[in-house]
Symmetry: C2
Subunit: 340 residues, 2 copies
């Protein structure tokens, strides 16, 4: 059983008694070929177990037919949704997807992009976390870049697909306020990060409702479990009078649930909890958590579509904004009385 290297287009041509161009035509669908020839070619290919080399084709076409996808972390449920969306779209469009995770490290992100460029991907979809300068460079050297879920402040010209986070936070805030809550704690992302839109939406909505914003109730944490927990614990311990907590992400929500339990606070009797990101466990919690669902799958799908299918429409008219949905469950109740 000889370890034969895989057959090339030349082998197939020879076996079928035709020129290599004909084989190429048959396989790329381009051009014409008589039914008879086509059959002979296909038969020869099958016989030889021939697979066209994407490397050869790519070199000639100067593009690989694949795209790069850069996320912070594939194990994050929301990121995973986005990845799934991209895969679904890429599949229908016939391209492959090179995925990598930057874990919030800008230098690592830059390195990933470098590698993707070397691979000659047709485009890059990113949930960016790194330096604007790096991405500016990437956008210049790479054929096309699309941001998903988040953007970089200084790169407004890069097309993007986002969830309407501001709208989501607004509906959550209004919901909580409508229940009578006035001292609402806000667990947000790290300062300076794009998460800023969430915090701004919180403040704005409260202002519109005529509820004064207490700076003490607005806290920020790095997007990591420990930081989220520390932030939630700090808030709930420092201000025993908060009657509701709005967590701006599922990690923060998780932290809030854990801290509330640790502090023996009943939910929602003692404190109401609501969060952004309607992840799977929201329904498994006791009580199930009220949350705002963000269309991760759609974001990924649309971003991929934007990249591969509508290079023309890209960037026209600012970011694509996808709606969120408030899912009311049992974790929020009407204001009763201060905890102490």
């Amino acid at each position: 059983m000889a370890e034969r290297r895989s057959a090339t287009i030349k082998d197939v041509a020879a076996a079928a008694g035709v020129g290599i161009a004909t084989v190429s035509r048959v396989f790329s669908g381009t051009g014409s070929a008589s039914a008879a020839t086509r059959e002979r070619v296909l038969a020869a290919a099958r016989e030889l177990d021939y697979r066209p080399s994407a490397l050869g084709r790519g070199l000639k076409l100067r593009r690989s037919g694949g795209i790069g996808l850069v996320v912070p972390d594939v194990t994050d449920p929301f990121c995973a949704e986005v990845v799934a969306g991209v895969l679904a779209c890429a599949r229908t469009l016939g391209g492959h997807v090179i995925v990598d995770a930057a874990h919030g490290d800008p230098s690592r992100e830059a390195e990933i992009v470098d590698r993707l460029v070397e691979q000659r991907v047709d485009g890059i979809i990113a949930l960016p976390a790194g330096e604007e300068a790096d991405w500016r460079a990437a956008a210049r050297v790479c054929s096309s870049v699309v941001f998903a879920d988040r953007v970089l402040p200084g790169l407004a010209d890069v097309p993007s697909v986002l969830a309407d986070d501001a709208g989501g936070v607004r509906s959550l805030t209004e919901y909580l306020a409508g229940l009578g809550h006035r001292r609402i704690g806000f667990l947000g992302g790290a300062p300076g990060r794009p998460r800023g839109v969430r915090e701004r939406a919180f403040r704005d909505t409260l202002a519109q409702l005529g509820v004064p914003v207490e700076e003490d109730l607005v806290v920020a944490a790095r997007p990591a479990r420990d930081a989220a927990y520390a932030a939630a614990a700090g808030l709930l311990q420092r201000r025993a009078d908060v009657t509701a907590v709005l967590a701006a992400g599922h990690l923060l929500g998780e932290a809030a649930v854990l801290v509330a339990r640790e502090l023996d606070l009943r939910v929602p009797a003692d404190v109401s909890i609501a969060m952004m990101d309607d992840v799977a466990w929201a329904e498994l919690c006791d009580p199930p958590l009220t949350a705002v669902a963000r269309p991760g799958h759609d974001i990924g799908y649309r971003a991929c579509e934007l990249l591969l299918r509508e290079p023309a429409r890209r960037g026209r008219g600012g970011p694509v904004l996808l709606p969120t949905e408030l899912v009311v469950r049992g974790s929020c109740g009407p204001l009763r009385s201060a905890r102490r």
Copy 2:
């Protein structure tokens, strides 16, 4: 601002006043080059913003330097862990990863593998779900295949990295039995699927413990939310006398929790629940769920290592078996009395 196509090795050679072979040597690290020349080349490359084309290199080397990763579903928390592990390892080894999801569809899986072969990946890591024949063909045509987390019965010669599922189920079963439970419901995977090892471990352990196995308590479900729910509901309604449920996967565990709540069963007072897969929500549940942690990240990492780093040791001595860990929380209690 002209839209210039990216610089090639030729451009760099010209700019640096050297031959293309020298540029190649400098960039691939191979061969020798005087410090001075090296500097000139690097400077020219930087000036031209040159990125070596993986396509050119790949064509010459007849391999892309990347690997393919085929999973059932990237949004599954366990799969996501495996993906993360593969990415981590591939990164240290300098290769990229093409990821795709087959969603349990054999034909789709076969198509993905076809595409990966066309991309000339250096190897494929798969959590296989499809036909043995397809994978047999893949293993033949592709340089190398490694199975992760699960195997195909007829393909024992394909190297694999697995969690010690049998051991995990055994410890869970012993734990439950040790608590006094005798009528333990088993929620397992679809019949005929590799999940069979879990069910067998359950039966064996019970037998060893001298506890009779009631067929009626062992049910199987497709790995989907609705099927899992139906199975759990069926079991708990049909047999009001089960005092404990062992869910062989996190979807099944989720279903058990939901059904128990629906049926107003208190956990663990009325029914104890334990499951395989220590996913994030296990700790958020109320009560937190006792579970067996399976090392998804390690499985991915080791599989990748096996593929890229130890082509020699592959397959030697059967599957690599990674240990699991029983994480006891509050969802299981001592046997008290029948529910009715």
